[in-house]
């Protein structure tokens, strides 16, 4: 009797277990109503997820009754890549993914994203000129258009009016060039309590690839050649441009070094009034709208010796090549990057929609969280550029570690640039491991 019971229990446990282990894990393609399921993977934190589920998705499903959208989120920036790679490796990849200028090069260079040019040609109601051209260019790679932008921003100067008034420095304007910028930053750098340590800095810099190329370009240098086959950071003009940016903290001491910032990042320093100016994007408005205790405004980046330059940061959506329903995915992509998606972005306070009609509307330009000179961001689109990247993106990223020594002051900027250039050129010409 006991033996029989044992074997029955084993059977009850083992059979479902074996079935579960050997069942192929495929994502369901059609839901119970026969609609095509499109999975959208994004960064959305709970507040965005709520917006998507309450406004965006019901609206889309209403107008496209044969498609159901399923949301998959990594709940924030960290873990986004890991989760996506796991999904792809497990053969349950999503159809559409939300990317930014930070990780777009990685996915583009691995050949995972679907070219949208054929779909655009076949679709009569879609017009690529509805979007800001300079931003769309950031999603072009080797002749293909690999996604559509949904929101973007240029980088402009954000400044604290109160600190400027206290130091009797006139506000930044069109005439500002690097000399004037440095002069103002010097006047705004103070040791307010006399303990020998600077308490207020004129500027807080960011050591990130979506910032420093602007200073190289403004000096007439380039990071990569136009065909991305050669790294040009060993050019004296490029080195001088980067040197000016790095010297702001190392030589001129108008910006904090990595220890002087006392654990605060540049936005936190600005909000704590420890930095009078920062170079930031419109995405920061949401953060600033939570209440800054001082009047603030935005201005163009100072003119470099070769003119004005700034970088773009953006978010967008791409379709993965592995999708089984490209037509339906394209419909959703148009929707989320188009009019309705742009409206949602505005509602969420998320920088600039890339869809021109909504971006130029009063809703965006005169929104309650805009500073007086918000139009500067629109004007900056004219001289903004996308930071370039070669197909060997992983090695390119790794080579940037050569700049670490320059930022800390342990190696000269020339040596760091030379090492970076050599590493990148070796990666581009040699084998990609």
């Amino acid at each position: 009797m006991r033996k029989l019971l044992t074997y029955i229990i084993i059977l009850i446990v083992a059979v479902p277990l074996v079935r579960w282990v050997f069942q192929p894990k495929i994502r369901p393609e059609y839901d119970e109503k026969g609609r095509v399921i499109i999975e959208w993977y994004n960064y959305a934190t709970p507040e965005f997820l709520e917006l998507y589920e309450k406004y965006l998705i019901p609206e889309f499903e209403r107008t496209h009754p044969n498609i159901k959208i399923r949301l998959n989120s990594s709940m924030g920036d960290t873990g986004y890549d890991a989760k996506l790679l796991t999904l792809i490796a497990g053969k349950i990849a999503p159809d559409i993914i939300h990317i930014t200028q930070q990780n777009f090069p990685f996915y583009a260079s691995k050949g995972l994203l679907m070219d949208l040019n054929p779909a655009i040609e076949k679709d009569p109601e879609f017009n690529i000129d509805d979007y800001f051209g300079q931003v769309v260019d950031g999603l072009r790679y080797q002749g293909e258009l690999l996604g559509l932008p949904s929101d973007f921003s240029a980088i402009c100067l954000v400044y604290n009016k109160k600190l400027f008034d206290e130091a009797k420095v006139p506000y930044p304007d069109e005439t500002w060039d690097w000399n004037k910028f440095l002069w103002a930053a010097r006047k705004l750098t103070k040791d307010t309590d006399g303990d020998g340590a600077t308490d207020q800095f004129g500027f807080a810099s960011v050591n990130s690839y979506n910032r420093w190329p602007a200073w190289v370009w403004a000096n007439g240098g380039e990071v990569l050649s136009a065909d991305a086959k050669k790294c040009l950071m060993d050019d004296p003009k490029a080195i001088e441009g980067l040197k000016f940016y790095i010297n702001l903290s190392l030589k001129e001491h108008v910006a904090p070094t990595s220890t002087q910032n006392l654990g605060q990042d540049y936005e936190q320093m600005f909000m704590a009034q420890r930095a009078a100016m920062i170079a930031d994007s419109r995405y920061a408005y949401k953060l600033f709208s939570k209440g800054l205790e001082f009047p603030w405004d935005v201005a163009h980046m100072p003119k470099g010796p070769a003119g004005r330059a700034t970088t773009f940061i953006w978010g967008g959506n791409c379709i993965l090549k592995s999708t089984k329903h490209p037509k339906e995915a394209w419909e959703f992509l148009k929707f989320v990057s188009g009019y309705e998606g742009a409206l949602l972005n505005v509602k969420a306070g998320n920088a600039f929609p890339a869809y021109k009609k909504v971006a130029m509307s009063d809703q965006v330009l005169k929104s309650p969280i805009s500073p007086p000179s918000d139009h500067v961001f629109i004007e900056a689109i004219e001289y903004g550029r996308q930071a370039p990247f070669p197909p060997q993106y992983t090695e390119f990223n790794q080579a940037m570690r050569n700049f670490e020594g320059a930022w800390l002051g342990y190696s000269s900027v020339e040596d760091a640039c030379k090492a970076f250039t050599d590493a990148v050129n070796a990666a581009i010409s040699g084998e990609v491991w």
Binding site: I88, G111, T259, G263, R401, E404, Y410, W433
Partner: protein
């Protein structure tokens, strides 16, 4: 004696035993043995998860020979191990000896010393990052504290000068980042201390009495009685220390991210970067197997040398 064929009862009991351990065996095969074997296979391939794996034979191992960062990370790991192992063992043994006395409040001190090794994790790394902050951290503020000194230029009056006016920048300075991590690791001597305490309390009192009768002083008692009786414990701690210090990862990952200019780029941290930042799974697997070989060799050497100095009862 003729070997019996196992009876039906024995076979059934064997089967039941096997079924009982089956869950653990499945778990072990699926999550430990399987991945290890897979890692060996992957180390002979080039794979970045998104594109199919490509067999390259010993290519990964060859590339490891030329990679300057492999050498740098091994040197860093050895630097850490060479300083950490003796310091930690002496520290643990020393505190165990001190806390082995029968005084009041010993339990409180033992707990206090043990608590840091229990609270390991990201929280302690962040805590130490703050302690090591060059401007505001506890350590540098203590070092800069004023102490009285004689003012020779002013008629031998007392003047207050900072103890060390320009203390090192710890985690921001390539020279001092590794010493900082070594200092931080000594916070956790409590773990080894507990084991030594157990070992010390297993030494019979008669041996000490016999030594005293023979006229041994404290140092001789220590050398001739304590150390030999403790040698199995020391041996265990030595092996665990070696294996542990070659696998240091968390501190560098959280606190320095590889350190100012690769000064704290530990081998396992570099492995992690290769696997999860650069997506070179084959290369990282090859690195893992090299680490296995290194640790295995060191452990085998230890086991070979053991009979010469380890006295088991």
């Amino acid at each position: 004696m003729k070997k019996q064929r196992s009876s039906k009862l024995q076979r059934i009991e064997a089967l039941q035993g096997f079924l009982f351990i089956l869950p653990w065996v499945i778990g072990f095969l699926a999550f430990a043995a399987g991945p290890v074997i897979a890692s060996l296979c992957i180390s002979f391939c080039k794979w970045d998860i998104l594109t199919p794996a490509e067999f390259v034979g010993f290519g990964n191992y060859a590339k490891m020979m030329e990679d300057p960062l492999i050498a740098k990370s091994l040197v860093n790991t050895l630097y850490y191990a060479v300083f950490h192992i003796p310091l930690a063992m002496c520290g643990a043994l020393g505190t165990a000896l001190l806390l082995n006395q029968k005084l009041k409040g010993m339990r409180v001190f033992r707990t206090l010393f043990y608590v840091p090794s229990v609270t390991a994790g990201v929280a302690t790394f962040l805590l130490w990052t703050w302690i090591f902050n060059p401007e505001l951290g506890l350590l540098n503020r203590a070092l800069r504290h004023e102490v009285p000194w004689i003012d020779f230029a002013n008629g031998l009056a007392i003047k207050w000068v900072p103890f060390i006016a320009n203390p090192p920048k710890w985690l921001a300075d390539p020279q001092w980042a590794m010493p900082a991590l070594i200092i931080m690791a000594l916070w956790g001597v409590g773990g080894g201390m507990i084991i030594y305490l157990a070992g010390l309390q297993g030494i019979p009192e008669e041996l000490y009495e016999a030594a005293e009768i023979d006229g041994a002083n404290s140092i001789q008692k220590f050398r001739r009685v304590t150390i030999p009786m403790l040698s199995p414990t020391i041996f265990f701690n030595l092996i665990m220390s070696i294996i542990g210090s070659f696998q240091v990862f968390g501190a560098a990952f959280i606190m320095t991210g590889g350190g100012p200019m690769n000064a704290t780029l530990f081998y396992v941290l570099y492995l992690f970067q290769n696997a999860f930042m650069y997506f070179r799974m084959g290369y990282a697997s090859a690195m893992a197997w090299l680490l296995f070989l290194i640790i295995m060799t060191l452990t085998l050497i230890q086991f070979k040398l053991a009979p010469k100095w380890v006295h088991y009862q």
